[in-house]
């Protein structure tokens, strides 16, 4: 899939590199394939492209310079954080600049009184929590990749985590984003107050996959670490009953700090890997966490236990220590890496559906396993209906890859059909771009593009990601049909 840059492309690359080096140190502009190879993909490694140039700015002024050069030369530019994204949002372009924010990784300030941290985009998610810990504070969103993923990438993807039902997504926990537009100008979205004048551009740039501006500084909200937390590990002999228990919990007025489900296939894979003490005979396991003051947690755990018993859980264990709580969680947190051990490759989906459709969705996935002859363990953020079915396959077998893609496509389309979305927290990137044609009408896609052009008229920032062109949708050949109107009748069919 990689292309060697030749002819006019080569001249442009040389010119761009020369211009970048006028401001960036020599070592911060990479052109040699040997140096640029590590940037050829993000966490979605099935898609690769060697970037034309890798720029590693050390400060905001250098970011401004990179963007100005790209705009002047008409070179597309893809921003990248830690490269842990799962949707190919940071997939480079062979004729473009890959703008890595990895060198901008300083925590600029932690303010324990205002409960904020001001950080550069390359700071790791977990590093913020570590810096806030001495003050009894932490940064709430905790994606599974939090050891490695960067806060800049979290903003670009509106990352979630296992505690977002109660504590919110990135968009709920970021107060201010300073970013550079394609004009090379720094602007601020949001503020360190609780709102800012004008449109809520902070909400707009959060989750915009690096297509509107490049983040250079972020102020996040820190919240007090709960005094204590306990988790219930509940076993069900029927996965649909586990799903019903989740709905019953919400109906009861309980918002657990975390509410996660794993099916038997997932449980067995992780148990072998981390020995979390999971019941291997259970059809489904629920992890149900309560946090707060000891009195609050005691009362809530009692309510939850009673409810889970009523809803048919046949076994429960309540963590009796912090070590045990972490052990119960360890399996869930290691689910993805555990799949890597039992299968050469796995493909992680990220649809969100209304909780009440969970059982239907699980039956559908089971049917797809048979249809495509592939295994698909499930882990999901049950509390907010966000599914992560993991299709196990071998990428070296072209037919397995093809079947995996078809399998995933059907599951994503089912998510849309039941009133959900193709991506809850991993982003569209390049991976789900075709399904966007099904989730949105041509007029809606056009509005997205109009918003993009308001920020980036020449469409140089991360082009080709997130929002498909109508042409691409026509090529994909399956479009949303609402009210019997065939979309873009003027376009040639493929």
């Amino acid at each position: 899939m990689n292309m060697r840059i030749t002819g006019t492309g080569f001249l442009k690359q040389a010119e761009a590199a020369g211009r970048l080096r006028q401001v960036l140190p020599e070592a911060c502009v990479l052109c040699d394939p040997e140096d640029t190879r590590p940037y050829e993909c993000d966490g979605l490694s099935a898609y690769r492209a060697l970037p034309g140039i890798v720029a590693l700015p050390e400060n905001e002024a250098q970011v401004c310079h990179v963007l100005r050069v790209c705009r002047e030369l008409g070179v597309p530019v893809v921003a990248r954080g830690a490269g842990t994204g799962l949707s190919g949002g940071a997939l480079p372009l062979s004729d473009g600049v890959l703008l890595s924010l990895a060198k901008m990784k300083r925590i600029l300030a932690v303010d324990p009184v205002a409960r904020t941290a001001r950080v550069q985009p390359g700071v790791r998610n977990l590093a913020i929590t570590e810096a806030a810990a001495p003050y009894g504070l932490y940064y709430a969103p905790d994606p599974s990749s939090q050891i490695a993923c960067s806060i800049g990438g979290n903003v670009a993807e509106n990352a979630g985590g296992v505690h977002c039902l109660k504590y919110g997504l990135t968009v709920h926990n970021v107060m201010r984003v300073r970013a550079v537009t394609i004009d090379g100008e720094a602007v601020e979205f949001g503020s360190e107050a609780l709102d800012a004048p004008g449109y809520d551009l902070l909400a707009l740039v959060t989750g915009s996959e690096g297509m509107l501006a490049v983040t250079t500084e972020i102020t996040v909200k820190l919240v007090p670490r709960p005094e204590t937390a306990q988790v219930i590990l509940a076993a069900f002999d029927d996965i649909e009953r586990a799903g019903a228990a989740v709905a019953a919990m919400i109906a009861e007025g309980i918002i657990p700090a975390g509410l996660e489900m794993m099916d038997q296939a997932a449980t067995r894979a992780v148990e072998e890997y981390v020995q979390a003490g999971y019941d291997l005979d259970a059809a489904a396991l629920l992890l149900c966490e309560s946090d707060g003051t000891p009195e609050e947690v005691g009362a809530e755990i009692a309510r939850m236990t009673e409810l889970l018993r009523r809803e048919g859980a046949y076994d429960f264990r309540v963590s009796q220590s912090e070590a045990e709580r972490l052990k119960f969680w360890s399996g869930r947190k290691a689910a993805f890496s555990a799949m890597g051990r039992i299968s050469p490759d796995y493909y992680c989906m990220d649809g969100t559906i209304p909780r009440k459709r969970l059982a239907e969705m699980l039956r559908f996935i089971a049917a797809m396993e048979k249809k495509y002859g592939l295994r698909c363990p499930n882990v999901f953020h049950a509390g907010d209906g966000n599914l992560h079915p993991l299709i196990l396959f071998d990428a070296n077998d072209p037919d397995e890859l093809r079947r995996t893609e078809a399998f995933a496509g059907e599951v994503l389309e089912k998510c849309i059909e039941v009133g959900g979305t193709v991506t809850g927290e991993h982003g569209v990137g390049i991976e789900k771009i075709n399904q966007m044609c099904l989730q949105f009408s041509p007029a809606e896609l056009e509005q997205f593009r109009a918003v993009k052009r308001a920020f980036d008229p020449k469409e140089l920032l991360n082009p080709g990601k997130n929002i498909p062109t109508l042409h691409r949708c026509a090529e994909f050949g399956r479009m949303q049909v609402r009210g019997g109107n065939v979309p873009f009748p003027g376009l040639e069919r493929f």
Binding site: V187, A193, L204, G253, P354, R355, R453
Partner: protein, 362 residues
């Protein structure tokens, strides 16, 4: 398509063809907010009702003209609420606030600092655009990152981007119990105390400070409230007194808001020390929101807010001329102002929706 939707689409297409502005309006309870504008009124109240409400999904979808009071009572019957406590500002006997107006104004009440703002609870919208076409953004699920988040963008956009036909909102369970505590202390101490408490795991859901008195509301499970009360001290208000007090803060019916002066809203980093500005002050949101009834001039107030890292809005009062010359909303930096204009044009190229309600040039 319903009659109301047809009439909305007709009104929009006619306005766009003639480049004549429309003035979107629900119950008119927030007519005072924003710049005074011209334009053919488009009344949204004919398009009303809850489209879907499933308590176990924590989501409600309501049409723009739905009465906010009715929606809130439906939620209450099911033990749930709009956690951002939107103010209605509806005087008794007049048209009540609507869901569409609530979203457009984007204002949140006392629970804001602990629970979040309107935008934090928006999950999806249906928008009628400047061509009279219906567009859907977001949805009814808690997590959704497909495409740009254009639904949250509608919160606080003052109806300038299009006509929101319906909105899906995340709802939360009502707290099991609440208790309001009263303390006496000077302003600097109150700000310092509120910020210190916010850094601890305490179930504080609202705060208000004025005239030397600090009121703090606790919400949560009874055992958590008991332990917080033991830690914080203070004098507990009886429940009816507390309810009336917070309603007065939320709806601006408290004596503080009965003022002849201009009412300014200063949104600041919560730990900002006392600003020492002229006039009477009421502090909410743990120090992050400071209402000022004042005769001070706009420039002084805006400069003070800006230096502290915040912004100032001329919320109520002032003559039309004063509101125009000072600007209701804090002026934007040039690069941001340009993004606003371009964004507005991307939704509404002819400038027909509430033109000038937020800033004069769009």
């Amino acid at each position: 398509m319903s009659e109301s939707l047809k009439s909305f689409a007709d009104a929009i297409r006619t306005a766009a063809a003639g480049k004549r502005p429309l003035r979107l309006r629900g119950g008119g309870s927030k007519d005072f907010y924003g710049q005074v504008i011209a334009g053919e009124p488009l009344d949204t109240r004919g398009y009303a009702g809850v489209i879907a409400y499933e308590p176990t999904e924590l989501v409600v979808t309501a049409k723009c003209g739905t009465a906010l009071a009715g929606l809130e009572s439906t939620l209450r019957e099911n033990g749930q609420m709009l956690a951002f406590e939107p103010p209605h500002y509806a005087p008794p006997g007049e048209g009540g606030a609507t869901v569409g107006g609530m979203l457009a104004a984007g204002l949140a009440g006392p629970r804001r600092a602990s629970a979040g703002a309107v935008r934090d609870f928006v999950l999806g919208v249906t928008l009628m655009d400047a061509r009279g076409e219906t567009l859907r953004f977001g949805g009814t699920v808690m997590k959704n990152v497909a495409g740009y988040d254009l639904s949250r963008l509608m919160a606080g956009s003052m109806g300038t981007l299009g006509l929101v036909l319906d909105v899906s909102l995340k709802v939360l369970p009502l707290p099991a119990a609440e208790a309001t505590l009263r303390f006496e202390m000077p302003e600097d101490k109150a700000i310092e105390t509120l910020n210190r408490w916010a850094g601890r795991p305490l179930p504080i859901s609202a705060s208000a400070y004025t005239g030397g008195e600090l009121h703090v509301r606790l919400s949560g499970a009874p055992p958590a409230l008991d332990s917080a009360r033991r830690r914080l001290g203070g004098e507990r208000l009886d429940d009816e007194q507390a309810r009336r007090f917070w309603s007065g803060i939320r709806e601006h019916t408290d004596d503080f808001f009965r003022t002849e002066s201009q009412l300014w809203r200063l949104s600041l980093p919560s730990a900002t020390p006392p600003l020492g500005l002229q006039g009477a002050q009421l502090i909410e949101w743990g120090g992050a929101l400071r209402w000022l009834a004042t005769g001070a001039d706009a420039r002084t107030l805006r400069e003070a807010a800006r230096r502290a890292g915040g912004h100032a809005t001329l919320f109520r009062g002032g003559t039309e001329e004063e509101r125009r010359s000072a600007g209701v909303f804090h002026p934007l930096e040039p690069a941001l102002a340009k993004l606003h204009r371009d964004l507005k044009a991307s939704f509404d190229p002819e400038g027909i929706f509430n033109r000038g309600r937020m800033y004069p040039d769009f």
